[in-house]
Symmetry: C2
Subunit: 223 residues, 2 copies
Amino acid sequence: MAGYGQFCPVAKAMELLDERWTLLVVRELLMGSTRFNELRRGVPRMSPALLSRRLRRLCDAGVIERRGPENRASYVVTDAGRELLPVVEALGRWGTRWIPELGDADLDPHLLLWDMHRGLNRTAMPHERTVLAFEFTDVARSSSRWWLVVNADDVDVCDADPGFEAIVTVTVGLRVLTRLWRGDIDWAAAQRAGLRVAGPAWARRGLPDWLQMSPFAVVPRPG
Amino acid sequence: MAGYGQFCPVAKAMELLDERWTLLVVRELLMGSTRFNELRRGVPRMSPALLSRRLRRLCDAGVIERRGPENRASYVVTDAGRELLPVVEALGRWGTRWIPELGDADLDPHLLLWDMHRGLNRTAMPHERTVLAFEFTDVARSSSRWWLVVNADDVDVCDADPGFEAIVTVTVGLRVLTRLWRGDIDWAAAQRAGLRVAGPAWARRGLPDWLQMSPFAVVPRPG
DNA sequence: CGGTATCCCCGTCGATACTG
DNA sequence: CAGTATCGACGGGGATACCG
């Protein structure tokens, strides 16, 4: 689409940033994703063709730089890209406060686990390999069971049993865990809403500390 | 277009705000415009049908409220709307720093005068009616001459001679005055680039104080 | 002044398949 | 792993005219 035909810096910024998906890709980049397929996991409903277009556009705009060989590309934010953090933060804070309601279509177990895997508080967790299991009570059988496999230096999100025994199993409705992650409700309210944790007492007690919530969870709500 | 299918508050915010023109309308509302045709002057390239759609959407989202009788409607921001100011500010700051180049299509004398009329430093100006004239050296005859008519309690933007004598006449290239307004250059650089002011000495000296620049003019530039 | 109504085009996006 | 290629539909939005 053509530009706005305005010299206003807000308009010039939006000529780039109002394109569908663009700011979500930027969000993923700012969260630390650098590889194409890593970015895709953060925006699973975006087609690879469109992601490719957006990445090129962001390169052209100087927001990111493409690095590495053709077959192992990575994308890193430039100074200009890093300075989009205040924009993303302002949007996230506003969305948190003023759009609290989620439709069923906004819920996605894979995306939720993907977000959670980034925020795990590794230092508070056991040092050996640790597996956390999640069972969603209200999701179709085929995608109701998930595992976070915490290895020495990475975390995997699995939708198939990894074979190692889970130290805890969280049984919960998808919406309840999503709202907990977003900070719409707290841990106690989640338990009242049916969240259950199975496993040894020390692990059940530790879990709330292991799972960091969304960065926007602490945003104060209106009223 | 459908939503993003994400529970992330950034995604939920962008479902509303990534629609073309929406954030520019919000900008106008935050700058104090409340009436339909007043808003239009801030987004002249937007069709009235589309502005109408956007206003309804912003009402539905709780960003603004529609008030007054059918034939004299006004739109005022709610708390949610007011809290979009940090979003607009962050975008404006980023655009100012990282998209400094303007295309010819981004220049618009009417829009420039419309922006300037809002920022006039009335207290520093003469109390009686004051007329400021602008003559753009590089704009087609039909829209090269403009006037700001400062009355007791309002300011008019005119593209036809208002009939009252101007206290000063500014002769300048459209791009130069636009860059001055944006803070890309300062007053001295604008004069070196050809800006000339005609009128009594006291008015010529006062002018830089009368004309407030864009709120983003003070944003520090990279490097 | 404050909008609606209508029309139609073209670009965007989604879907799917495929490649080095 | 990191993308391209192709295609079709849809709907957003620009233009224009019109109404209360």
